[in-house]
Symmetry: C2
Subunit: 103 residues, 2 copies
């Protein structure tokens, strides 16, 4: 049983996407750019502190970008990058599996 | 922005599958039933204590089953259930995404 050749990349992807709330945050952003408040309201059980942390991680991982609109007050929106949007395939598979198998 | 209707199932699935090492363990088992030692050798960076913990979780979640063969010494094998095998679709999607996007 040789070591799985793709293990580091596969493992890294799973670890990044598997973190609590990450899947949901990405799903909400797949419906379009959102402000912090909109994200927070769409996932009520998640604390703002956690959302702030996940946004930082996803930004560092190149999955979302932050747009600052110099209005008064300043408007900040978060949007998925191409890398982020292409996670949709995984999301759909998880959704299908969850519908069939999760009680 | 209404709350995502499938959020509890989707969230539960993501949380279960996203735990460290779980994705890799399932991928190894997708190649067929394995003994503890075979699983442990296939994923060298994972401790036996962690493997034991993950096996318990996956068994409780109905994703794998444990077969005890009354030989001498006793042989124990772990095998994916139908529920476990159907995770392959998610795995393939994660693999595709990781190959394209993970540095």
């Amino acid at each position: 049983m040789d070591h799985l050749h793709l293990c580091p990349k596969f493992e890294a992807a799973f670890e990044l996407l598997g973190k609590r709330w990450t899947g949901l945050i990405i799903r909400v952003l797949l419906t379009g750019p959102k402000r912090f408040k909109e994200l927070s309201e769409a996932i009520p059980h998640m604390s703002d502190r956690m959302l702030t942390e996940r946004i930082k991680e996803l930004e560092a991982a190149g999955i979302l970008t932050r747009h600052v609109y110099p209005e008064t007050p300043v408007r900040i929106e978060y949007e998925l990058t191409e890398k982020g949007k292409s996670i949709e395939g995984i999301m759909n598979e998880v959704q299908k599996w969850a519908e069939k198998w999760v009680e």
